[in-house]
């Protein structure tokens, strides 16, 4: 038996595999496909202060080994989230982390404050990296000062675990990672999607109504691994690896590079129970390599 449990801030995860924000709804839609309690945890679709309709259509398009999306943080808003979605989450026997965003610095802490009292919320993931909104999102996550202000604001609003979700669309992700640590983050989630675009050469229109969107899936895995590597070298709080994880081998690569946990995103759309197979694969790999806990795998990168 391999001990797959990990600790991030005050969070105890039974295993290090989480569902990435925006790819697992509010945790209920996939109930018919597998036992959600097998997961280390789920991260909700981003919740904002007010309800958001999201962006015009089309919102998604496939690309070579990847997909672009410009959903635009469509969500019911924090109040309806607490009324309508929170009760559904109650039935889930796994950690629930609420992903939070805002179009102002204050909105982040306001949203967190409203949810701080709910026992069902085990932690927050601060989304300062969405490429698909005008304000908040990328604009914040590319600026170390705003990053620190947003995170420290949230820190004051909650004693629950805070993850900060970083964008790869920056010159130096380490600066943003440090700003998050200074602001009081317990862990860092990376990466959010990579800015990308597609064009329909028949209509000569962009594939996405909002022109530019976020690239996810296997295509970005090498980028995500590099970012995790850079951040893990520079900072000491836990890092959660995200980006193009499609099979357990991909997940293992992220742990070797130094991730404490991982998130599965686009895979959910393709294989609803893919995350469960990944958990099993990680366990087998550790066993085969004589590791008694996932911690022995994390950061085990050898010299080239």
């Amino acid at each position: 038996m391999v001990d797959l449990s990990v600790k991030i801030g005050n969070l105890h995860l039974k295993n290090p595999v989480l569902m990435a924000s925006g790819t697992f709804g509010y945790g209920t839609e996939y109930r018919d496909y597998f036992d959600v309690s097998l997961l280390g945890g789920i991260i909700t679709k981003t919740v904002t202060g007010k309800m958001r309709e999201g962006n015009p259509m089309p919102r998604i398009v496939e690309t070579p080994c990847g997909m672009l999306n410009s959903i635009g943080l469509a969500n019911v808003g924090v109040d309806r989230f607490c009324q309508e979605k929170m009760p559904e989450l109650d039935h889930l026997d796994t950690v629930v982390i609420v992903n939070v965003a805002g179009s102002t610095i204050e909105e982040y802490s306001e949203v967190v404050e409203k949810m701080q009292g709910y026992d069902r919320v085990d932690g927050f993931e601060i989304n300062i990296s969405c490429p698909n909104v005008k304000k908040g999102g990328l604009e914040f996550g590319t600026d170390p000062e705003i990053t620190e202000t947003v995170v420290s604001g949230v820190r004051k609003a909650t004693d629950k675990t805070i993850l900060v979700k970083l964008t790869p669309n920056v010159t130096d992700i380490v600066t943003i990672a440090r700003a998050s640590v200074n602001g009081g983050a317990d862990g860092l989630s990376l990466i959010n999607t990579v800015l990308g675009m597609g064009v329909d050469i028949e209509t000569r229109k962009p594939h996405l109504a909002r022109i530019v969107g976020g690239l996810s899936g296997p295509a970005i895995k090498p980028i995500a691994l590099a970012k995790v590597y850079q951040v893990v070298k520079a900072i000491s709080i836990p890092v959660i690896g995200i980006g193009g994880i499609m099979k357990w081998e991909d997940a293992v690569a992220f742990f070797i590079v130094g991730a404490t946990a991982i998130q599965v995103g686009t895979l959910n759309f393709i294989e609803p129970d893919g995350a469960v197979k990944i958990i099993q694969g990680i366990e087998r790999y550790c066993e085969k390599n004589g590791m008694r806990s996932i911690g022995e795998l994390t950061g085990s990168l050898q010299k080239g």
């Binding site: 925006g22 790819t23 697992f24 709804g25 839609e29 996939y30 018919d32 496909y33 679709k45 309709e53 999201g54 015009p56 259509m57 089309p58 919102r59 998604i60 398009v61 496939e62 070579p64 080994c65 990847g66 997909m67 999306n69 959903i71 469509a74 899936g217 296997p218 499609m246 686009t266 959910n268 759309f269 393709i270 294989e271 609803p272 129970d273």
Partner: protein, 262 residues
């Protein structure tokens, strides 16, 4: 609703670009109803990456089989046409909310354009089984895309064909004969409308339908990722209601509520 490995029983070429795929899919065949779809994994590879949604074209409940009808468009459907009996696909389904028949109508007007015909065969089968009469308007590019219309009991179904090239039926858009028909029956409370086809056709019929006094249901298509209401990728704008998901709130909607221009 679930996820299953389904064996290919048969693949039949209908037309240059159109194929019918028969799949062994017990669970789906037992519970599916017209207007629902399946979400199909093309191959166990990373490119093409996403599943592809296909309407359930037909259900052979006793055999536990379903049929898909598809047009070869891009890379995914090009790979599909190469599959042979014995191959298998991973399917999620039946997905979505299909057509509802609980109205008191006795005659259904069914309108299909192009590949919009896919879910319509299943729909007509069920309508006839429920004892309704059907008036079927079917438009396509050319006659070779119109097939299988003689299989139904011709006393219960009235069929109007139209082709863009005039090779079969009315020469022009299927909305023309539909319009002529509606001119006389717009207030007929025994009717209900069911529509599936390209956007331009749907818009036209929405316009026609505003002058009728009965209900119209429409089946929509949008590019999909998850197929189960999670990714919010397949939104459609409904008048006064905002965005709804084609995959989980639809694909069938009340035609008058759809805001085609966003």
């Amino acid at each position: 609703m679930g996820a299953y490995h389904c064996q290919v029983i048969q693949q039949i070429q209908i037309d240059e670009h159109i194929y019918r795929l028969v799949l062994q899919a017990h669970e789906i065949a037992q519970t599916a109803y017209p207007g629902q779809f399946v979400h199909l994994r093309i191959a166990d590879q990373l490119n093409p990456l996403l599943r592809r949604p296909f309407s359930i074209h037909r259900v052979l409940r006793d055999k536990g089989q379903i049929e898909l009808l598809y047009r070869v468009i891009g890379r995914g459907t090009s790979l599909m046409k190469q599959t042979k009996p014995g191959d298998s696909y991973h399917l999620m389904g039946p997905l979505g909310k299909g057509f509802v028949f609980d109205g008191k109508f006795t005659t259904a007007i069914v309108v299909a354009g192009g590949m919009g015909v896919a879910p319509v065969f299943f729909l007509i089968d069920e309508l006839l089984a429920l004892g309704k009469s059907v008036i079927f308007f079917w438009g396509a590019r050319c006659g070779s895309e119109l097939f299988g219309v003689l299989q139904w009991n011709q006393s219960a179904i009235e069929i109007h064909l139209a082709t863009e090239d005039g090779s079969q039926g009315y020469h022009g858009m299927v909305t023309d004969p539909l319009q002529t028909f509606l001119n006389h029956r717009s207030e007929d409370a025994s009717l209900a409308g069911f529509v599936c086809g390209p956007r331009a056709m749907l818009k036209k019929i929405q316009l026609l339908s505003t002058r009728t006094s009965f209900e119209w249901q429409v089946s929509l298509e949008e590019t999909m990722a998850c197929g189960v209401g999670v990714c919010q990728g397949c939104a459609v704008m409904l008048k006064n209601e905002g965005f709804r998901m084609v995959c989980s709130d639809g694909p069938v909607f009340d035609l008058k509520n759809v805001a085609f221009d966003g």
